[in-house]
Each structure stands twice: as C-alpha cells, then as structure tokens.
C-alpha cells in the first residue's frame, strides 16, 4: 500500500483556539478521502496544512513518503480546488487554466495542447476566452477543477467545491468528480460538511469535531457503527438514548443510538403479539410530529419527558396515510440494530 499522505501528531492553534488537536491521518494512493465535520471543526485548517498555506505548530506532514512540513505550497505536488474557486478575475478561462503551466515555463505548444485536453474533459471547450465574471457558478467550478487538474497533481485537495451550487447541479457534479477521480487515478482529499456528499462519494471518511478526528472509517461503517454520540448524531438521522434513559427504559448499561429506518411501528395488539420479545426492544411513544418526505413519513415520538425518537414509515401502498399528533403507538426495533456509544 502506497501512502499518498501522512499526518503525524499535527497541532495548530490560533491564539487560544485549538484548530487542530493531535491529528493523525494516513491516506492511501488513489483513495477518495473525505474530511467531514461541522463548520469550525478544523477540516479546512487541516486542508490548509496539507496544501502548505498554513504551517502546523507541531507534527509532520509527508506526501508520498517525503516530508514537506516546511516546504512552501508552490513546491508541493498537490493542487487545490478552492471553496470560492479563487479564479483570477483578470484572466480568461484559458489563461486561468494555463497559469500553472506558464509559471513552470512549459513550452507554448504543449501548454495549448494540455489546456485543450483538460477543457474537453470538464466540458468547457469553446469557453476559452470568457472571463470568470461571464461564467455561471457551475462553469466557474469546472474552470477551478480544470486549473487544478492540468498540473496532473498526485493529490487533489477540494475545499467544499460544490457548496455554492444548487442541489441538481451538485448531484451531477458529484458523479462527474467521481468519474474524473477514476479516470485520472489521483488521490482526492475532499472537505465537506455535507454528510450525504461524503457518504456517497468517499472510499473513507474522517469525521472532525472541535479540532479532533473522531472516527476514520468507510462510509458504511461510519453510518452503521458510529464510535460515539457525536458521530452517530452527525451522520444521517439517528436517535440517541443517553446512559440514564437506556438504563431506565431498557436496562442497558451504555448509551446507544438507533436509526429511524430500523424502527418498526406497531399499530394493533395482534401485531404486537407477533413480535419476538427476545429479539426486539419494545416501548411505547406519543406522536409529537409527523412529516411527509416523499417516499416515507418521518415521525418523531416522545418516549418520555427527555427522550425523543425518529422513525421512518415507508409509504408503499397508501401514499395518503398519516398519523395524528398525540396518538400512542408501540414501537420496536431489533436488539442487533442498536449501536452502543462511548460518550
């Protein structure tokens, strides 16, 4: 396994704020790796340390086995797609894309050939002479991508590249980015606060919180086996029972979480009698809210005064069904579906 990037004990603080707290990361060559976390969690600072815009206070950054901690960004074989795209406003698309080749003193004809190729890949042929101000958000995004890719970097850093795009375009670009990654076989390090984006695109995800990495794993494992309540809460929709409630209601020693799609809603006595009490936790709840979400209903139950639970109810069959607020149901879920959490 070739290590594309290795971060060892990275610490970085701004004044009293600890932006990065002992970060250790190893990213494999060719991997699509996401740094996921809420804003202010340190993921962008981490990206800046990798790109070289910020030097860590402590720790070692290595790229393909070579230490680069104190090497300036213009000598690192990484390129960045910036959140605000950072296109040079005084240059047209062609000049923007060719910038890195020009400063590297590449020969004229091969510069032009490279630019043409990359513009074709990002579907911008014919836009060469436009200024960034004459492009739409999606097109600017493609220019930023082309400008970073034309260098053939070993690692591409993407700082919330799709954040400014609308939902449809974002979904389309997610697929395109993934295709480009496969085609170029480059390591992608992708910063996002959008958990859906991270889950759908990544090979592995590092979940950031308050300058620390909470968990590093594959999307499936992050989703199904969150290591603590922060990760469980941040990824997808989930209901968390803290230690006290777990003890009181289900006689379990540890806090746990359960996903709404695992909840079974029991409406009749007959159904209740059919449930295997050895395999299921059963409790009762009062409907606090019921939302229509297209393919399913999202129901929020109050279990007791300080405990709420979300459940999805598929709308196959009767699309018009809904539950009245304050109606009482028995609810159940498999014992194997819960995730116990370290607080």
């Amino acid at each position: 396994m070739l290590k594309a990037l290795n971060l060892e004990n990275i610490n970085k603080s701004y004044g009293l704020i600890n932006a990065l707290n002992n970060i250790n990361l190893t990213i494999r060559d060719g991997e699509f790796f996401s740094l996921l976390g809420p804003s202010g969690s340190g993921k962008t600072t981490c990206l800046k340390v990798i790109a070289g815009f910020e030097a860590p206070d402590e720790g070692i950054v290595s790229i393909f086995g070579e230490e680069v901690t104190n090497i300036p960004p213009f000598k690192r074989h990484v390129n960045t797609v910036f959140q605000d795209y950072a296109l040079f406003p005084h240059m047209n698309v062609r000049q923007n894309v060719g910038y890195s080749l020009k400063v590297k003193k590449m020969k004229g004809p091969s510069i032009e050939k490279n630019i043409d190729e990359i513009l074709e890949i990002v579907n911008l042929t014919g836009y060469d002479l436009r200024k960034p101000s004459e492009l739409s958000g999606g097109q600017r995004q493609r220019v930023a991508l082309a400008r970073a890719l034309v260098n053939k970097p070993k690692i591409l850093l993407l700082d919330e590249p799709l954040g400014a795009l609308d939902l449809k375009l974002r979904e389309k670009m997610q697929i395109e980015l993934k295709n480009i990654q496969r085609q170029f076989k480059i390591t992608f390090i992708y910063v996002t606060h959008d958990q859906q984006e991270a889950l759908s695109m990544s090979d592995r995800i590092a979940v950031f919180n308050e300058g620390k990495v909470e968990q590093i794993d594959t999307p499936a494992n992050i989703y199904s086996k969150p290591i603590n309540s922060f990760v469980a809460d941040f990824i997808g929709t989930t209901s968390i029972f803290d230690k006290e409630s777990a003890m009181k209601l289900f006689n379990i020693q540890k806090a746990f979480s359960v996903r709404p799609e695992n909840i079974v809603i029991i409406e009749t006595e007959k159904d209740l009698s059919r449930i295997d009490k050895k395999q299921y936790f059963i409790t009762s709840g009062t409907v606090a809210d019921c939302q229509f979400q297209g393919s399913h209903l999202r129901i929020t139950y109050s279990i007791d005064a300080n405990c709420k639970l979300s459940a999805f109810k598929s709308l196959e069959g009767d699309i018009n069904q809904k539950y009245d607020v304050n109606s009482k149901h028995s609810i159940a879920w498999k014992k194997s579906d819960i995730t116990t959490l370290n607080e």
């Binding site: 790109a51 070289g52 815009f53 300036p72 960004p73 213009f74 990484v78 390129n79 960045t80 910036f82 959140q83 605000d84 950072a86 296109l87 040079f88 406003p89 005084h90 910038y99 890195s100 400063v103 590297k104 400008r147 970073a148 260098n151």
Partner: protein, 305 residues
C-alpha cells in the same frame, strides 16, 4: 390634505425614479451648471482671442489663441516642464506609496492599520501653505538637510547633486529636485489610499491559489497582485498627475523662476488679463489626462474592475 400626502407617498413608492430625481435635482444642477457649465464657458474662451492693440477680448470663434499657445517655444517649454515633473512625481509617489499600501493591506493588524491611516491623513489636516513653507525652510541653504550633510562632511555630495544641469540649482529650495520632493510629499496620500483600497480587495484565496499552482512569491506578485492593484495605481496616478499639472503654489514657493502651467494660467488671467490664453493653457492638463486615461485603459489597467 392627508389624503393628498397619502397618495403622494404611494406614488413615490411605486415610482422610484421620482424619488431619485427629487434627491438628485439639486446636486445635478450644481454639477451641471455651476461646475461643468462654468468650466466649459471658461475653456470656450480659448477659442476667442485678445486684440493686440486694445487689450480687449474679441468674442469671435478662431484658433488664434490655440495657435499662439503651440507656436511659442516658451509656452511649449512650460508644457514640457510641467508634464515632465508631473510624470516624475507620479512615478516617485507610486514607488514610495506601493510598499506602504501593500503593507497596510496585507500584513498589518487592524490597530496598526488605523494608526497608519491616521499617519497618512494627518498632514492633510494642516494647511497646505504651511506645509509647503516648512519644506522651504527644510530645503533652504540654512536648513536641516544642508546642516545634516555638513555634519557628515558630505557637502561635496550635495553640491555635486545640485550642480547637475537641469535638475540642480543654487540650493535645494530653488531646484527641480526640491519641487519633486515637495510635490511627492504633498500628494503621496492620494497615491497610497487608492492602491491600499485595491489591494484590500484582492482575496487571500487568490494569492493562495497562485502559490498552489506553483508560482513563487515573485511570480505571484507580478502575475496576480500587481495586475489586480493596477486600477488603484492608475487611480492614484490620476490624482498625483493632475494635481501636479495644475498646481502653481509649489512652483512659486520652491521653484526656480521658470514657469509651470499653473503659474502661466495665474499670470495670464490675472495680471495680463489674457483670459483666452489662460483658458488655452488650462486645456492642456485636461487633454493630457484624457490621453493618459485612454492609454491606461487600452493597456488593460481597468480590466480587473
């Protein structure tokens, strides 16, 4: 009455142009009549001429005065002298002003920035004449600069500089070098502030992007920062250039006996009563500025706007 005011307010809300117009009418009239109108009338005088015998202005359209302006070698000298000095002052201000503006925009803390702003603006709060006269004393033969050179036994250096033809003179206070120094001092804030504003608008991410794409600091400066700051430099140079072209006090106090455009205008419209020639002289800075801005635009100075 109430009903009338009510419907008036409704009308005003729906017709935005009405509101704009009612606010703008006084400034527009001021700008149009008092400002541009009087300027145009004055400049229009350059197409009249002075009767050689009576000394009266002849109100007939002709190019006599303009011809007189450009056919006299003395007048051409005045124009070349003024434009040359204005160009030197502009370049000097840009060279001194850019690093200060760059430091203010990119490297300081907000507190230091405010301090620098005040430091740059402070001289503008005192009288222009007082400052020019102070410089007269500083530059004079008995002044501090001479004293300083004497103490260092470097009088020979100052004398060598002052004996340089054209830019030299009997003392710093009566030489082109002195005028250059005073002009540069007086107009420097007008160069720093626009450059600072334009550099302030260059986002950090553009500089990061340039480094990211392999450009070192020097390449980033010449390919990204300077082109984006150029509109500010041009704006600043428009100030320093045109203000120097039109000034007559500094050449009068610091300068030699040789005239500058401002002095020419002053003398012709005052003592000599030759308003047409004064008007013709006034046209020169305007024409020079129009040409300057035209070429600045052509060379892409405003592309980043």
């Amino acid at each position: 009455m109430n009903k009338f005011l009510d419907s008036l307010s409704n009308f005003a809300f729906r017709n935005k142009n009405f509101i704009f117009l009612s606010f703008l009418i006084i400034p527009l009239l001021w700008l149009g009549i008092v400002y541009l109108g009087s300027l145009l009338i004055f400049l229009g005088h350059s197409f009249f001429h002075l009767d050689g015998f009576t000394g009266q202005i002849v109100y007939e359209f002709s190019f006599k005065t303009l011809f007189e302006l450009f056919s006299s070698p003395a007048n051409i000298d005045i124009i070349i002298r003024t434009v040359g000095l204005a160009a030197c002052v502009t370049i000097g201000s840009a060279i001194i002003g850019f690093p200060i503006a760059y430091y203010m925009a990119k490297f300081t803390s907000p507190k230091v920035k405010i301090f620098l702003f005040i430091a740059i603006m402070l001289p503008l709060w005192s009288s222009y004449l007082v400052r020019v006269y102070s410089w007269k004393l500083i530059l004079a033969k008995e002044g501090i600069i001479n004293w300083f050179f004497e103490k260092l036994n470097l009088e020979w250096l100052l004398d060598t500089i002052l004996s340089t033809p054209v830019i030299g003179g009997p003392s710093l206070s009566i030489s082109y070098i002195g005028m250059f120094l005073v002009f540069t001092y007086i107009w420097l804030p007008f160069m720093i502030l626009p450059i600072q504003a334009s550099l302030e608008r260059v986002p950090k991410s553009l500089i990061n992007a340039s480094h990211d794409l392999g450009a070192n600091k020097r390449q980033t400066f010449y390919k990204v920062i300077l082109p984006l700051a150029l509109p500010g430099v041009i704006a600043g140079s428009i100030f320093t250039f045109s203000l120097t072209l039109g000034d007559y006090i500094i050449p009068y106090i610091i300068g030699t006996s040789k005239f500058f455009i401002g002095q020419a205008v002053y003398t012709h419209q005052g003592t000599a009563g030759n308003i047409p020639l004064a008007a013709a002289f006034s046209l020169v800075p305007i024409v020079v500025m129009v040409i300057y801005i035209y070429f600045a635009k052509k060379m892409g100075a405003f592309n980043a706007l």
